[in-house]
Symmetry: C2
Subunit: 202 residues, 2 copies
């Protein structure tokens, strides 16, 4: 389980897309929500769009890894597709905020690691938010405040990637994935003659 | 501190050379020894060649991170160049056997991680040892026994790289280095505006 968080504007979506396109062993966790689909959003790809009754029934049956209510809408990570993917030998990528990351850490005792993506500077984040949204000063100010609140949790993550250059950041996140898969306790493809040796401490 | 071990024939020397050539932030720890230099060996590069009296005096003064006697010769890792390199912001690579790796773990409380390089199979290792040395069956058998004894310690390392293809193995070790440098508690280049946030748990 690879948990990735960042303030909006740091480049997480671009990095995520690049990872999923090039890494066949990685699959994305799709959230469920009760909010209506926006134009272009595809059910089962962007979100699982379900109604409130169904969502609450799933909560009741403990079918979410984590869930939260934002304004009037529920959002949550359904367990079943995550565990199906893990059982199929895939690594699963979670795009969640610091609260979601914390809930995942507590809910799922499975093998996890986490990455926080940071913008290179305060000014650059502000510039990106302006460039993206062409919003009013006030809206950008609100987003900056939200970003600051999100970023104050960088200390809860295993790895920190400062996204100065998107290609370099993608390469860094790929390196983290490669390295994590080479950790002794995750190795599944060791040569047979070595597996029979009493090397494993665990 | 990056500690790397492997049985001879697994490709560690080639991997080490490729790392040092391409990574300016990495420096190699050079061992001291009392054995005489072999043709082509350079003092201060392959080894620090010193006499027995000097070696014993250094042991006495606690100037080695680890040391051992093999047959009639001493081998050891002098502290000073390692700590000079670390102080200069370099990562230091140690090419040691499992015993040296264990001694380093106990001797140096500094930030360490370790990689074990494995050959892809028993037969392939045997083939490489034959190809390299053109030795008698008996010599190769002895080396295989030594390799088996070394490999039985793979469980004491953080990462395992199976060297099937040398380019892929070099890329994997580089990925491990990149990832380890991105770990939160090793990050030295975080943007200033983030450092001032109370994110660090430590």
């Amino acid at each position: 389980m690879l948990v990735m968080s960042s303030p909006s504007g740091a480049g997480k979506t671009t990095i995520t897309r690049a990872l999923l396109e090039t890494d066949p062993d990685l699959s994305m966790s799709v959230s469920a929500t009760t909010r209506p689909p926006r134009p272009g959003e595809v059910d089962g790809k962007d979100y699982y769009f379900i109604d409130k009754a169904k969502f609450e029934a799933m909560v009741e049956k403990g079918e979410f890894l984590e869930h939260a209510k934002v304004f009037d809408n529920y959002y949550g990570t359904p367990k079943a597709p995550v565990y199906d993917a893990l059982a199929a030998g895939k690594d699963v990528l979670f795009d969640v905020d610091w609260q979601g990351a914390r809930d995942l850490r507590h809910a799922a005792r499975d093998d996890q690691m986490s990455i926080f993506i940071l913008p290179p500077s305060h000014d650059e984040l502000e510039r990106r938010l302006y460039a993206r949204a062409q919003d009013s000063d006030e809206v950008v100010k609100k987003r900056m405040a939200k970003a600051a609140s999100e970023m104050s949790h960088w200390g809860e993550y295993d790895y920190i990637v400062v996204n100065e250059n998107i290609n370099e950041s993608v390469a860094q996140v790929k390196a983290i994935l490669t390295a994590e898969r080479l950790k002794r306790n995750r190795q599944t493809g060791l040569p047979e003659f070595v597996q029979s040796m009493c090397g494993d401490e665990e």
